[in-house]
């Protein structure tokens, strides 16, 4: 029997989360220089397209098919092409059409891949990025989603973190943020630093775009977290309010650090604080009280504001701070559950500060580190394999010229009142070439 309220909320949440990826494209796009804005946005849109297709073909099946052994992998053949899911079936928890769950989980896979692109701004071949995205989703995200999100049922066996370790990850602190953050670090190491990193100013070219992107991410994230209840109920409501509380506190925490350290509270700091708070509360929003959420948030803002300086100290070019925000924020939020969880919250577990001892804490740490290590190592291997075969990084000349014009044959902005001094050729340059040849000006 389908529960129409639950179904309406999950389909809505899925659409909210889908919008997060174009929001991320704006957030990232505004942060790079004007010559890279289109490529930065294309990496998100490319992930949107490719991962959607893979999810339909076999992604859902690998993540949520019956376990093939040890809680590591779902059966890729069970739901290949989403076969057998169109009939009026509901999830085992009841009330929700399986197809609604398929759609909701698809947009998580998409944004996780898109998040990684922030670590390799300005310098990755687009084709190589797309190849990477497909391989990474296949051998890292889909299995990890199975580990974390696939719960045992009457007729189905799920993943090891969800069922054997029983670490709490309500909406994807490990599967999404630690996963993407560790992968971002690995790719930043594979591709190396941008030309001029740490020396040339690489100022964000459009902070209003960053703010719009952060706003869309914030809005969509309520579907991400409250939708993860998979029902329109009290758990969803608690998650919603905790998401509000943590994010607000994180913005204040980040701005406070900036004011103390740099003397200025900045708009980029506010936008970054939004994301840091959202990341940290993602795993914890069903397990902590609203006061706990405020603590998770403010510490996330402080930690991530400090962590974004690490890349300059350690010398890796995580261009848009995927590590500093998503990895650090995801680790904090996941581990914070071990300290701040309260049995009064829907997850019904006490953390260390609520008399629960270290039982939940060690589970959280193991879950976080397992995903971190797996993602980092496998991403390094995929990254180097692509670099050694088809090449991953642009040539230095192309990078200096600008990836938008070189790779996409476009430019994000045209502010030149004199135009480019060119002419147009409707047939891919053919007409222009012929015209030039007949003029004899360029034989």
């Amino acid at each position: 029997m389908v529960n129409t309220g639950d179904t309406a909320w999950i389909l809505t949440s899925a659409a909210l989360v889908l919008l997060m990826t174009p929001g991320l494209a704006l957030f990232y796009g505004g942060m790079v220089r004007a010559k890279s804005v289109l490529n930065m946005m294309m990496m998100s849109f490319g992930a949107l397209a490719l991962i959607s297709v893979l999810w339909v073909l076999y992604g859902y099946s690998v993540a949520f098919g019956d376990d093939v052994g040890a809680g590591l992998l779902g059966d890729p053949a069970e739901f290949f092409g989403l076969s057998g899911l169109m009939e009026d079936t509901t999830t085992e928890a009841g009330g929700l059409p399986v197809m609604a769950f398929v759609g909701f989980q698809a947009v998580f896979a998409i944004i996780t891949v898109a998040l990684i692109s922030g670590a390799i701004a300005d310098r990755a071949k687009f084709g190589s990025w797309m190849v990477f995205a497909g391989i990474w989703a296949t051998i890292v995200y889909f299995p990890v989603a199975h580990w974390v999100f696939a719960f045992d049922g009457d007729e189905v066996t799920g993943g090891w973190i969800a069922n054997d370790l029983r670490a709490i990850d309500f909406a994807g602190g490990t599967a999404v943020h630690i996963n993407a953050g560790a992968a971002g670090l690995a790719l930043a190491l594979v591709l190396g630093k941008r030309r001029g990193f740490g020396r040339d100013p690489m100022r964000p070219h459009n902070l209003p775009l960053v703010m719009i992107g952060a706003g869309l991410l914030w809005f969509g994230w309520f579907g991400f977290n409250a939708g993860s209840a998979l029902a329109a109920n009290n758990t969803a409501s608690v998650a919603w309010v905790n998401t509000l509380a943590a994010t607000a506190a994180a913005v204040l925490g980040w701005l406070l650090i900036e004011k103390i350290r740099d003397g200025h509270a900045t708009s980029l700091g506010a936008a970054s604080g939004v994301v840091a708070g959202l990341v940290a509360i993602t795993p914890a929003c069903s397990a902590v009280s609203p006061i706990g959420a405020l603590v998770v948030g403010v510490i996330a803002g402080v930690l991530c504001a400090l962590a974004v300086g690490l890349k300059f100290k350690l010398g890796y070019d995580d261009s848009l701070d995927v590590v500093g925000v998503h990895l650090v924020g995801g680790l904090w939020g996941t581990i914070a559950i071990g300290f701040l969880a309260t049995a009064e919250a829907p997850a019904a577990v006490d953390g260390l500060f609520y008399g629960g001892g270290v039982d939940q804490l060690w589970r959280q740490v193991v879950g976080a580190l397992a995903v971190l290590a797996f993602s980092f190592v496998v991403t390094l291997i995929i990254g180097f394999a692509i670099q050694k075969t088809i090449g991953f990084r642009l040539t230095e000349d192309d990078e200096v010229t600008g990836i938008d014009t070189v790779v996409h044959a476009e430019s994000g902005y045209d502010f030149a009142s004199l135009g480019g001094g060119g002419s147009t050729a409707p047939l891919g340059g053919q007409a222009r070439a012929e015209a030039r040849n007949t003029e004899g000006s360029r034989a």
């Binding site: 100013p201 900036e258 003397g263 200025h264 900045t266 970054s272 504001a305 300086g309």
Partner: protein, 112 residues
Amino acid sequence: MKLVTAIVKPFKLDDVKNALELIGIAGLTVSEVQGFGRQRGHTEVYRGAEYQVDFVPKVRIEVVVGEIEAARVVDAIVEAASTGQIGDGKVWVTTIDEVVRVRTGERGADAL
């Protein structure tokens, strides 16, 4: 004939234009420029990383006038553009060999 060139703070443009109109100057050319003198630039901060921005936006005003008017034009610009703060800019005068009005072909002082 003289070319008076002034580099001033952007927000002073209207004051300078009005001052020049008051002394009867018929035309001027304005461009947005960047550079630095003693004022230097400013510092911006993005996620804690500091960027020194060396070039300061300024406005360049150019007026072509006769010998006698040049001194009055310079005085008017200096008075209108001054705030007393660092970065107020500079004014200089150069000699012009020839001026032609495109529409009529008039030359020299007639073209002004």
